[in-house]
Symmetry: C2
Subunit: 206 residues, 2 copies
DNA sequence: ACCCTAATGGCAGTCACTGCCAACTCGACA
DNA sequence: TGTCGAGTTGGCAGTGACTGCCATTAGGGT
């Protein structure tokens, strides 16, 4: 393993470029025709790549559209990595998520991608299914990570509830945010998330 | 439309019988080999039915195993129907869910079916995906139902949070219950659910 | 006995997805 | 500069999920 220089790799850059290209055309085609009426061959052809190659980049058709969410998940995982051993209270983890959302809002590209996916998902059952699956996997991973940090057993009820609750809050916030943005309202993602968490608190205590 | 007498229909009974038979063998095969390594042809053959007929009963392979959850969803929907106009506070809806769980616990068959599915789901990624999708659809339906009852808009944040939170609590409770039961512990479903809701309250207020 | 309809099976077809192999290309090193 | 190894791609054949269509069979009311 004579590792090549890290960032400046032509192959790596090409790979990322094709991946981005595929994601782009997939989003376009899904938006125009729906994921149901779009075939992998369509996407591959539009991206100038063979169907076989498509599956070297994405495991499923729907997966090609969910890059924004995978990026968010990765960012959250990194953020949690940084603060191993820190508190695992709901409030602190909520701050943690808000931080990642803020970072995401800062870079222009990411946030539009996120919005685009969320809007598609509202009306596309196939995509919604794929996203739910991804969300759930992320929630499980999140649960495992927090459990590991606190040394809790893998069946600890409290940790599971924390993870599920945070997932539920985040999902509700993203949906609400996307719905508002689609109606032309200039909703801020972090503010929406904070408000959602507030509602969650109100609802459970009232 | 000269409607036939409701319950006592030979055709209806036969249909239900084959459906139950397919579900049964699907659960068996999934438990033995996993859903991934089980084909629809396998299930159909074991149930003594053609593959084409299988798809007249279930939309997907995984769907054949999720009868227990669909039954629960239907029961919950009926329960909500009965109490239209009643309160939509988290606590009251929690009672509502607890009632349905209690009714389910009363009839011996249902609860075992539920447990069986949950245990399979723990280790079977394909089934887990299908169940998550079903759960999410149910959460959305639940949300729509509650929103309709209160006359709230379809983008009401509070209602969405209530629905997501209840879904999260229920999921955590069912997982915890199944995990305990699998370890030989004689956990009660309703009690587990109540305890989970308690934890949820603690976690959000602390 | 007679018909209408529901239920089934078989068949052909589409499409998602995978394993395998051959061709090509980048990047390193002599 | 020539060459070699590894990474990347395309094509092809194959499996398996799922659907539309049509012919056949089997309730159940007249």
């Amino acid at each position: 393993m004579t590792t090549t220089p890290p960032g400046t790799d032509l192959r790596e850059r090409r790979r990322l470029a094709t991946q981005a290209e595929i994601e782009q055309v997939a989003l376009d085609l899904f938006a125009r025709n729906g994921s149901e009426r779009t075939t992998v061959d369509d996407i591959a052809a539009a991206a100038g790549v063979s169907p076989r190659t498509f599956f070297r980049y994405f495991a499923t058709k729907e997966d090609a559209a969910l890059g924004a969410n995978r990026a968010f998940d990765a960012a959250l995982a990194r953020r949690l990595e940084e603060r191993v051993g820190a508190s695992t209270s709901l409030a602190d983890l909520e701050d943690c998520i808000a931080d990642v959302l803020a970072a995401l809002s800062a870079e222009a590209g990411s946030i539009e991608r996120m919005l685009r996916v969320r809007c598609l998902v509202i009306e596309d059952a196939g995509l919604r299914g794929a996203l739910l699956r991804l969300d759930a996997e992320q929630t499980v991973a999140f649960f495992a990570r927090v459990a590991a940090a606190t040394g809790a057993s893998t069946v600890d009820l409290r940790t599971r509830v924390v993870a599920e609750t945070l997932g539920a809050g985040l999902r509700a916030a993203l949906d609400d945010w996307a719905a508002r943005r689609e109606q032309g309202e200039d909703a801020d993602l972090v503010a929406t998330y904070r408000r959602t968490c507030g509602v969650l608190r109100d609802v459970t205590t009232a």
